[in-house]
Subunit: 118 residues, 2 copies
């Protein structure tokens, strides 16, 4: 199986609740973008999606999980903005830990299954 | 994190070569359907896709991998049909082994990351 050297294993991970997506690599990136930029609109720009879609996805996650993920404050010296709740930060940390464990395993398992002659 | 009891981790796995999909859970199911039914047309029915799409996907995999996956014979007492090459059977076996290792790990890693309080 010499073709294996140009082959690459790929994985997509997500978490469902009652059959609906609540967390995924993409959704976690969106939440991280809110944390980094301090607003949903700047996060949307960073993720290259319309503001409305970013807002919808965040609120969809909140509704499905039954928890608040993003807190928005209006006005103040910084003109307002959004930040993650501690619950959101906790979910992100757990999801990242989950995903990185799997990603490492994917490469190892691929090597074991595709490169060893039998 | 009591919500975790109704949450379920999900994974999708595939293998790319030069940035193009060569094997995936779905593609492997399609090849297995050819093996089980003895023809591409019956495999297409089983997979609930048009014959043309089944044919295209199989030939796409063959082209991208640079190997023959399905052999078709015409006529004979059974009226002709298709079967997998030994190479295809070998790829399927390796992919299934790869995927089942990951799927087990996904559940275990999810439990570790989402159920343990910290």
């Amino acid at each position: 199986m010499h073709e294996v050297y140009s082959m690459q294993p790929k994985v997509n991970l997500w978490i469902e609740k009652d059959g609906q997506v609540v967390l995924s690599v993409w959704r976690v990136q969106l939440l991280e973008a809110v944390a980094e930029t301090g607003s949903i609109s700047a996060a949307a720009v960073k993720m290259n999606i319309p503001y409305r879609r970013a807002w919808d996805k965040i609120h969809e996650c909140e509704e499905r999980l039954g928890v608040k993920l993003v807190e928005t404050h209006v006005g103040g010296t910084d003109g307002g903005g959004s930040r993650l709740t501690r619950t959101a930060a906790d979910y992100i940390r757990r999801f990242r830990q989950f995903a990185s464990g799997i990603e490492g395993k994917v490469n190892q398992q691929f090597q074991e299954c595709f490169t060893l002659a039998e």
